[in-house]
Subunit: 419 residues, 2 copies
C-alpha cells in the first residue's frame, strides 16, 4: 500500500467541539499507519497550507490528542480565508499542489462551515483541474447550523444547550426580582442570518408562562409596536418578561437593529449589541427596569456545558472523514442522518461536496409560531435531541483543564509565499 500524509485544518469561527472532530481525524488516522503517514495540521487553516506552515501532529502525545475531545476552540488556529476561483487566483492552487507534493500529502481534511466547504470543493477538484491526485473530505462544523443535507452541524448542539441553560437560569433570576426591580431581561445570541440559536433559547420554556417569553428571529421582520405590546402583556401577566434576541434582527427598512439608533459623539454608529438597543426601546416606551446580556464568544466556547450528542457527532464525523478517505473517495462530506427523534438515533451518510458548498439551510417557517415570537412543537422535536446529555471536561484547580498542544512546525522545503 502507498503511504500518504494527511493535511487537516480548521476554518471559520471555532466551536466548543471542533477539536473533538480533530481528535476523531487524528486518532483514526493513527490507526492506519499502512495508509496514512503523518497528519499535518495547517496553522490557521488553509493559510497554513499556502504558507507551508504545517504542524506535525505526530509529535503530540496520544493523551494530548485525546484531550482535544474536551477542549474548545481550534487547537491549530483557524482562519477566515476563502480560496478564489481557479481563474481568479491560479497561483494559490499551484502553491497548494507544490506544498502537497513537497510533503507527500494525499489526503485533505477541512473542518468548517459553508465557506470552508467551498474551499474544500475547490481543492477536491485539483485532480481534475491541475492533475494532482488528492482526496478532499470536508468535516462539517458551524454553530450557525446552516449546512444542507446533514441533520445538524457540530458546534450547534453545544451552543443550543448553552443558550437554553443560560436563559433558563437568567429567567429564574428575573422571576425573583420582578416584583421590586428588574422586569425585563434580554439575552443576545449569535445567528446573523438564521435563527437556529435564537430558537434554541426557546427550549428553556417548557410550560405556559415559563421564560423566555419572547424570541426575536432574524427571519421575522422586527415590528416594534407589536413587540412592545407583547412585552407589556408578559410583564402584566407573569410579572416579568425574558427575551432572546438574534444579533441579526432587522427593522422594516431592512437595517440591522444593532446598526441603527445609537451613535457616539462623532456620529459614528455604535458598536453592535442589539440587546442594549432593544432594552432602550422597552425602557423608553414602557419604563420597565431592564437588564441585558450579550453572550458572544462565551456561547460558542462553552465546552463546560457541551451537549454530549454534539461531542459524539463531532468526533464521529472526524472519524468518518478518515474512513471515507481510506475508501478512496474524494469531494465528500460525512453528514448526520436522523433516524428517529426520541430517543434520538442517527447515523452517518456521505454528501457530495458540490451539493453542500455555498448552500445555506434556513429555519423552516413552521418552526416559528404564527405570531413570530416563539418556537413551535415541530421546532422542539427537531432541536431537543441535539442538546441531550452532558459531557463535562475534567477540572483542575476548580477550572476546566483544557489542553494546549505543542504545535511544532515541520521544516519548510519551499520558498516563502504571501497570502
Amino acid at each position: 500500500m502507498t503511504v500518504k500524509n494527511a493535511f487537516y485544518a480548521q476554518s471559520g469561527g471555532v466551536t466548543a467541539v471542533i477539536n473533538a472532530s480533530a481528535a476523531g481525524v487524528i486518532e483514526t488516522a493513527r490507526q492506519h499507519p499502512d495508509r496514512i503517514g503523518k497528519v499535518f495540521a495547517g496553522r490557521n487553516g488553509i493559510i497554513g497550507a499556502l504558507t507551508e506552515d504545517l504542524i506535525d501532529t505526530s509529535l503530540e502525545s496520544a493523551e494530548n490528542i485525546a484531550a482535544l475531545r474536551h477542549t474548545p476552540s481550534g487547537a491549530f488556529g483557524s482562519c477566515r480565508y476563502k480560496l478564489k476561483s481557479l481563474e481568479a487566483n491560479r497561483a494559490e492552487y499551484e502553491r497548494l499542489i507544490e506544498v502537497f507534493k513537497a510533503h507527500n500529502i494525499g489526503y485533505f481534511f477541512y473542518n468548517g462551515g459553508g465557506d470552508s466547504a467551498d474551499t474544500c470543493l475547490k481543492v477536491s477538484q485539483l485532480a481534475e483541474t491541475m492533475g494532482y491526485p488528492i482526496q478532499a473530505i470536508h468535516v462539517p462544523k458551524t454553530v450557525d447550523n446552516d449546512l444542507p443535507i446533514t441533520d445538524c452541524c457540530p458546534g450547534f448542539g453545544s451552543v443550543a444547550k448553552y443558550v437554553a441553560t443560560s436563559i433558563r437560569e437568567a429567567g429564574f433570576d428575573v422571576a425573583s426580582m420582578g416584583a421590586t426591580s428588574t422586569k425585563v431581561f434580554i439575552l443576545e445570541v449569535m445567528g446573523r442570518h438564521a435563527g437556529w440559536i435564537t430558537a434554541a433559547c426557546g427550549l428553556a420554556s417548557e410550560g405556559e408562562g415559563q421564560p423566555p417569553h419572547i424570541l426575536l428571529f432574524p427571519e421575522v421582520q422586527f415590528d416594534q409596536a407589536k413587540f412592545l405590546a407583547r412585552v407589556d402583556e408578559c410583564v402584566k401577566t407573569y410579572g416579568y418578561c425574558v427575551i432572546g434576541v438574534s444579533e441579526g434582527i432587522k427593522n422594516s427598512d431592512g437595517k440591522f437593529l444593532s446598526e441603527t439608533g445609537l451613535t457616539d459623539a462623532f456620529g459614528h454608529a455604535q458598536l453592535g449589541g442589539v440587546a442594549p438597543t432593544v432594552a432602550k426601546l422597552v425602557k423608553d416606551a414602557l419604563g420597565y427596569k431592564y437588564h441585558w446580556a450579550v453572550a458572544d464568544y462565551l456561547q460558542r466556547a462553552a465546552r463546560h456545558i457541551a451537549s454530549k450528542v454534539d461531542v459524539e457527532q463531532a468526533y464521529a464525523l472526524g472519524q468518518a472523514a478518515v474512513n471515507i478517505a481510506l475508501q478512496g473517495k474524494n469531494s465528500v462530506m460525512p453528514a448526520i442522518r436522523r433516524l428517529q427523534d426520541a430517543p434520538y438515533q442517527w447515523d452517518i451518510i456521505e454528501a457530495p461536496l458540490k451539493d453542500v458548498a455555498n448552500v445555506e439551510k434556513f429555519m423552516p417557517r413552521d418552526f416559528i409560531t404564527e405570531d413570530g415570537f416563539h418556537i413551535t412543537d415541530a421546532c422542539r422535536t427537531y432541536l431537543s435531541p441535539l442538546i441531550q446529555g452532558e459531557d463535562y471536561p475534567p477540572f483542575k484547580n476548580g477550572l476546566p483543564d483544557y489542553v494546549r498542544l505543542g504545535n511544532h512546525s515541520i521544516e519548510r522545503k519551499l520558498p516563502p509565499f504571501s497570502v
Copy 2:
C-alpha cells in the same frame, strides 16, 4: 418548650446558591418541631412580612425543599427594600410586630448582603426598641463578596468559577482566531464598587501569556493611554489580548466609563455596557478587530457551573443560622472562618450583626499587581479555594432541572398595609 414559627426571606440581588441557604434553614428547622413550628417565607423579601404575604413552606415536599439546593435564584422572590430607621418610619416596625404576633413568629432569618444585614439588625432590636421578643439571624449572601468578618460570601464563589471558566474558554477561542480575525476580546463582569469578580477572572490565567491578559478593576482609576499601550503590547507579544473589565471602572473625572461617550440620537447617554465602550477605545486607537460580551445575570444565575465549596457554605450557613437561633441568640450572622488555604479548611463562627451591617469589605491593594492590570499571588491564594469542586444540578431533557415551588400564601389575618 415553646413552639414559635419562623420567618425566612431573601433580599437583594439573587445568586446561584441563595436557595441552598434556604434549604439549609428549612431542612434544619424541620428537624426541630419541638421548637420551631412552621417556616413562613416572605414573598419578595421583607415586603412579604410588611404586607403579610407569607408563604407556607410546610406545604412543600421534602423533595422540593431539597431541590432548592441545586436551584439558582430566589425561590420566594427577593426585593430591594431597606427599612428606614425607627424614627423615620415607626409604622413599618409596628406593622412587622403585628404580623409576627398574628402568626406567632419568634425567629427571623434574613438572607442577604450589606443592606439586608442592616434590615436584620433593625429587626433584631425590636425586642429592645418595641418590646417584642424576636431572634433575628442574618444569613450572608452576596456575589459582591463585600461583607466583613466572613472569609467570603455565598454566591461569590460560584460567580468566580463562572467568570474564570468563561474567560478561559473565550480566551482559547480568541487564541484560535487572532491570526486572521478577532484580536481583542472583552468580558464585562459585575462589581460596581469592588473588584472581587474581576479578580476572579484572573484565576483563568495560570502561566505567562495565558488569558486574561488585562483586568480593569474599579479600585484602579482607568488610565486610557496606559491601557491602550498594554493592549498593543499583548497583541504584539501573544497575537491577541483578552480583557476582563468591571462594570464599575471610572475615568480620571471619577465618572463611570459606562456612562460616558456614547449617546443616542436624542443625546441621551447610552445604556451601560462598559465592554462596548472599552472595545471602541481599542478599535479607534489601535484598529484591532474585537468582540465583547456582557455576562450580566448569566454570571450570578449560573448554577450549572456552581462552585461546590460555595454550595456547601451556603447550605451550612443556613443550617447554622437555625442552630444559633435555637441556642437563644439574637442579632448574629454566622460567618465563614478560613482555617487553611490549601486544601481549604473552614468552619463557622458567629459575627455580631452590629459589626456587619453597613460595613463594606474592599479588596486589599496587595491583591492587585503594581501595574494595576492583574492579580497577585496573594489574591490567587485567597480566591482559588472558593471555586473548588463542581456541584452539577440534575438535568432533564438536556437542561438543568430546577424546582419551582408552589409558594402558597397563608390566610391573612390583618388589614392591608402599603409599602
